[in-house]
Assembly symmetry: C2
Homo-oligomer: 190 residues x 2
């Protein structure tokens, strides 16, 4: 049985990773999505192993020490990370797995799992990215400027990725990502 | 303007390269197809620059000597080859170009043009390839056996290609090839 492929979708904040990922989930309901581990408390309706793998701080720290995470970060006092086991088990079963993640996290994953396929989602233009960041309508000018400057830095990291997909329209971006998935399965691997 | 990409479709004789290529031409009428040069005489209705570039033996030999051919071969007393100029002009204009060719010819092209994308068309099984070769119904058992043995040797050359596409159904094979073309345009090239 052929092993599955890990596809990692990343890109600057505001580019629409989450929206594209939700659209893909609808189009490809059988695709397995990576489930993150976290130390934060479950919210109402969240299920362990579905929304997150909920861990105590001790459990999470043990996973870090035993190299059981492909990447992790601390955010507002809680840890979040990608469990290696879930990814490797899915691939060993012959299924692909899809991971949507921030740019820095993706680069951590690439270090530990270079055989993954890394896709960078690009805005059609920097003006359009500015519109999208601004469009949330909840942030001050200083915050918007800061987020734009971070986004521009992140776009500079695109060179570490295998593919760049412009998110001009969600459907077009999804089709390009599906094409990349099909093409990667046709690749001759010696 | 981004340069186009040279896509080379090859595979063992009997696998259905010509059929897949015709189906692609219908689906992608704007795609440019490589036009071969030949020393054979034009047949009724054939146009210079459309079906072939018709050349005298002296002109063809001069192209060989001046490295103006990406590949060439002699077949039943006539030369056939792929003019480099037509490929390079098309790419420089920002258009892709598609070349359907025998396995040995494709490997010659790869030597001269390694930046091309090389796609190997595979039969669903060797039994099915045997059926297809036999299906032409015009050849002796010895000829069929010989063609099968050549085909099996050619399949061994798949390792020099970038992609392998199974020709189980023409439409599926075409879709995979289109996905490869889309994905290649999304590749990050540093």
């Amino acid at each position: 049985m052929a092993k599955g492929i890990l596809f990692v979708l990343s890109g600057p904040s505001g580019v629409g990773k989450g929206t594209v990922c939700s659209a893909l989930r609808e189009k490809l309901p059988d695709l397995v999505y990576s489930v993150s581990a976290t130390t934060r408390n479950p919210r109402l309706g969240e299920e362990n192993g579905v929304n997150y793998f909920f861990k105590t701080r001790e459990q999470f720290t043990a996973m870090m020490e035993q190299d059981q995470l492909l990447e992790y970060a601390e955010y507002v006092g809680n840890y979040y990370g990608t469990p290696r086991d879930f990814v490797e088990q899915t691939l060993a079963n012959g299924n692909d797995i899809f991971l949507e993640i921030e740019v820095q996290g993706a680069l951590q994953v690439k270090e530990k799992f270079p055989e993954g396929v890394f896709i960078f989602l690009l805005p059609p233009s920097l003006d359009e990215l500015n519109n999208r960041i601004r469009g949330r309508g909840t942030e001050s000018q200083a915050t918007i400027d800061h987020r734009m400057s971070v986004a521009v830095d992140e776009i500079g990291l695109m060179q570490h990725y295998d593919y760049a997909v412009v998110n001009d329209h969600i459907d077009c971006a999804c089709e390009r990502i599906e094409s990349i998935m099909t093409a990667e399965h046709c690749k001759v691997r010696i």
